[in-house]
Amino acid sequence: MNLDFSVLWGEPGRLIVQGLVMTLKLSAWSLLFASIIGLFFGTVRWLGIRWLEPICWFYVEFSRNTPPVVQILFWYFSASYILPHWMFLELRDFGYEFGAAVLALSIYHGAFVAEVIRAGLNSIQKGQYEASRALGLGLTQSLRFVVLPQATRVIVPLLTNEATGLIKNTSLAMAIGVVEMTYQYKNIDNFMFRGVEALTAITVIYLVLCLATSGVGALLSWHLSKHARGRATRRPVLTSE
């Protein structure tokens, strides 16, 4: 049993770095779309729009109770049937497996982000929102300037949790052939027999990625709470008392 970690500077190392780039690309795109989807559904549900409620409930329950990897497979095989033809062609040119994985991960994590946003919004007194509307601010304006800034205190830590979960779930994209880090491990073990070395390196990289994300999140929420603490000494614009 000969372990030779020096190969990590050679071909296997190069492959791992290529995989890392793909992992980061997957994470970035999925996080972006998941945030957009989550923001939309979370706010909509918090606003309490009656006829949208069952749709939101079903969306969240669906993602909570079905495995992400099965969702990735579903979109990979069904996208050409479900999506309108022009969208399918766009996906194909974008990189079909990559696109399908991003689609699946965005939809899956979008549900959880929606719940996070909803929890954050719920943590603020509803009176703030009502007062801002009463004072003439439109829907999006009151959300942007009154509600969401306060909600971020609750949202940011929960969101960093989701972000690390998403980064870990990008490893599932190997099931449909996306050449990210975990896929590279299989590659290296099958064709170069340096599996253990590669797996160790890849594990460490994931650890660093996730811990760094948590760290950034913690830093962000500390920074934001500093702001809030500072603002508390000034009279808030709208109060519900």
């Binding site: 049993m1 329950e61 669906f62 909570r64 109770n65 079905t66 495995p67 992400p68 990897v69 099965v70 497979l73 579903f74 095989f77 069904s78 049937y81 479900i82 690390t164 870990k168 779930n169 990008t170 490893s171 599932l172 190997m174 099931a175 975990t182 491990y185 073990d189 599996g195 253990v196 797996l199 890849i202 594990t203 994931y206 650890l207 996730c210 811990l211 948590s214």
Partner: protein, 234 residues
Amino acid sequence: MSWEQVWTAANWERLLVGDLFNTGQPGGLLVTLEIGLAAILAGTLIGAVLGVMRSSERRWLWIPAILYIQTFRNVPLLILVFWAFFVPPMFGVELSQFTSVMLAISLFTGAYIAEIVRGGIRSIAPGHIEAARALGMGRLQVTMWIVIPQAFFSMLPALAGRYVVSIKNTSLAFLIGLADLTEIGKQIGARLMTAPIEIYLTLFLIYFVVNRGISAATRLLESRERFNALFLHV
């Protein structure tokens, strides 16, 4: 769309029990539940021990606990599965696909349950613990007989959440070739070729039903009164 092609008796049999009645190889939902239940049990045990360790003041207990928890929470589960399945053979030990997945999920879940247990322990009023200590109970006894029974109920919702995630995580088994529910679904899909939507929606349905069932069952236990009525015949 051809539901009749997918929802045949033979396909349903394979989805639920795999080839148990054909070649003797269990598979499908049966294997998924086997892995899931085993991992839930083992994970809860590991999590309970780790959670107590994490809550201790002794450095030789909480430092290893934190290291374990942070390591296993920040690495993708698939990587853990690969560690369990592909690395031991290099040292002469061969774990079956079933064992590898079960081991990986147990260790992974244990890290999360540890945090839940820690939260549960912290939620116990310190007065209870002080009173018990004053009455002469040792630290371990206090933990076992005072803290955990009370914390159990506050932890149930979070635990149920983790259990559901564990069942979902069993779907990774197909990536090392185990014939679980997802793998059988994929096989049927590959054979039929033009009905992927139907087959994957069917998979979703099965997972959905199983997981909602688990959540409902735990909700039954959550209410103290219902728990007593069910199990203690008070």
